[in-house]
């Protein structure tokens, strides 16, 4: 049966290719350190289950140490003029290949449910996504007459540009687990629950939505706020006490957090970087334009949770 481990094997192979190609990149002055980072991630994908808990902890220390010492990025982009010429030559077929991945992910999710002996149904989407990547790579390389090294080499260049931020979501998810172990959610929940009127569903929904937005403003990332607020209010109150639909509570709760992302300089890549790119005099000019959308949308999200999750 095809399980998530097949996808991890593929991801490990791709990270290993990034490491091997990166070590030979002379344009990157920190090529070895950068390659070591991707190699550790490949090791995690391939052998994470065999390393043991402490072994994985040491692996994380290695990743963080390399990231903190500074990763480099190489060059090797295709020239603008070449890309312009190719865009004209290959046309809208480029969009078709790009769409192979989402379409395969969607169709695969629905189809794999019907073949329980073949594919692990619980992981259907991720397995289908990986299949889509493979199909798109084969179709793309054949149609564009590109060597299989081209997507890996260019992909490595993109990966280097993302750099250590690539594992930020996974690190924040892990921090969430430590927070859960230490009872941070309970502590925040204790604080927040003092502010919620006893027995008020509306009060609990407002506290959850506002809490997601406020916590995201503080942390700069809804990913960090989500495990805390969900452990404090989402699961114990909204889902267990008031029997809210967990999919609706969590999906829209996350989007309430996104409203907070629009309001915080902590989310620098979205809010401060464009102000610099556009040479605005006001560093917070982009945030100022986002307030008028973020606040009403936050109110809408809170109302949607209240109406949709509690029939």
């Amino acid at each position: 049966m095809i399980t998530l481990h097949w996808v991890y094997a593929l991801a490990g192979a791709i990270f290993a290719a990034f490491a091997l190609l990166g070590v030979a990149d002379k344009s990157n002055t920190r090529a070895r350190r950068t390659a070591a980072f991707w190699a550790l991630l490949a090791l995690s994908m391939w052998a994470g289950d065999a390393l043991g808990d402490l072994g994985n902890g040491v692996l994380v220390l290695g990743l963080v140490g390399l990231a903190a010492s500074g990763l480099g990025r190489g060059s090797g982009a295709v020239a603008d003029a070449v890309r312009q010429e190719r865009a004209g030559r290959f046309g809208n077929g480029l969009f078709a290949v790009a769409l192979v991945i989402p379409v395969t992910a969607l169709v695969g999710t629905l189809l794999f449910k019907e073949m329980p002996g073949w594919v692990d149904g619980k992981q259907a989407t991720l397995i289908a996504l990986a299949l889509g990547v493979l199909i798109a790579l084969v179709v793309g390389c054949l149609w564009l007459r590109a060597s299989p090294v081209v997507p890996l080499q260019q992909g490595r260049r993109l990966m280097d540009q993302v750099g250590w931020a690539a594992i930020l979501p996974q690190m924040l998810a892990s921090l969430g687990a430590v927070f859960a172990l230490a009872g941070v959610g309970d502590a925040v929940g204790g604080l927040v629950s003092q502010a919620i009127p006893q027995g008020s569903l509306l009060g609990a929904v407002i506290a959850y939505g506002l809490g997601m937005a406020l916590f995201t403003i503080v942390m700069g990332n809804a990913f960090a706020a989500f495990p805390v607020m969900t452990a404090a209010i989402g699961v114990p109150l909204l889902i267990r006490t008031y029997h809210g639909d967990p999919a609706i509570v969590c999906a829209i709760g996350m989007l309430a957090g996104f409203c907070g992302t629009l309001l915080t300089p902590m989310a620098a890549n979205f809010n401060l970087v464009p102000a610099a790119l556009l040479e605005l005099k006001d560093k917070h000019g982009v945030i100022r334009q986002q307030v008028g959308t973020a606040l009403p949308l936050l109110a809408v999200n809170i109302a949607l949770i209240y109406w949709l999750a509690f029939p």
Partner: protein
């Protein structure tokens, strides 16, 4: 209550601009010690969680495909497509861009557009040109607002489109967290509930863009 120190570490570390990965690890250590765990147990707990959360990082396997297509002109083609939509007003143009950005993000094409790729070279200049034509003479404050609005529109389109895609990081994070509470959900069950908010975001931001048009048109009259 001492376990909340870990949150203080996160805030302080981000404000002081230390490497976020380092800040996260420090926060985990402080939180664990406050909860009475010994350092090795904290490291093991973090390592275990990191291993179990690997699926969050497998999204990067799409990069070789994106890179292959970009090397063959995907962004240039996308710019050509967006560039042809020169509507008459800044509001209509940005509303169109909002729709395209939401649509692309919803099918997982989050990095086809962005502040560096599309906003700076294309969206902001077109928006500025349209606003100039509407208002006659554009003062510096209005010019800044229009450019900032172009960037804001990109963010709104991305944030409230991407969660409709099945395999985006935040959907996978929700799935992973709920599994810890014994609630098993499929990404598709979660991502459909991003649609109502996506529609609301389009209506609210679109309304603000319509008002921007009205303000600029009024400025034209003596």
């Amino acid at each position: 209550m001492w376990v909340l120190l870990g949150i203080a570490v996160i805030v302080a570390g981000f404000v002081l601009r230390f490497n976020p990965l380092l800040v996260i690890l420090a926060s985990a250590v402080v939180t664990g010690i406050a909860a009475g765990l010994d350092p090795l147990a904290i490291l093991a707990a973090f390592g275990k969680a990191f291993n179990e959360a690997r699926y969050v990082s497998i999204i990067w396997i799409v990069l070789p495909v994106v890179a292959l297509l970009e090397a063959h002109g995907l962004q240039e083609r996308a710019r050509g497509l967006i560039g042809r939509m020169r509507g008459a007003t800044v509001g209509r143009f940005l509303t169109g861009y909002l729709l395209v950005r939401q649509g692309l993000a919803a099918v997982g094409l989050t990095s086809v557009a962005g502040h560096a790729q599309t906003v700076r070279p294309l969206v902001a200049p077109i928006a500025e040109a349209a606003a100039e034509r509407q208002a006659g003479d554009l003062d510096d404050t209005e010019r800044e607002k229009v450019k900032a609005m172009a960037a804001a529109t990109d963010n709104v389109g991305l944030f409230f489109g991407e969660d409709i895609f099945l395999a985006i990081g935040s959907i996978l994070l929700i799935k992973g967290l709920l599994e810890q509470y014994g609630i098993n959900l499929e990404p598709l069950q979660l991502s459909v509930w991003a649609i109502p908010t996506a529609i609301a975001a389009f209506l609210i931001h679109g309304f603000r863009l319509w008002r921007l048009d009205r303000r600029l048109n009024r400025a034209d009259r003596p």
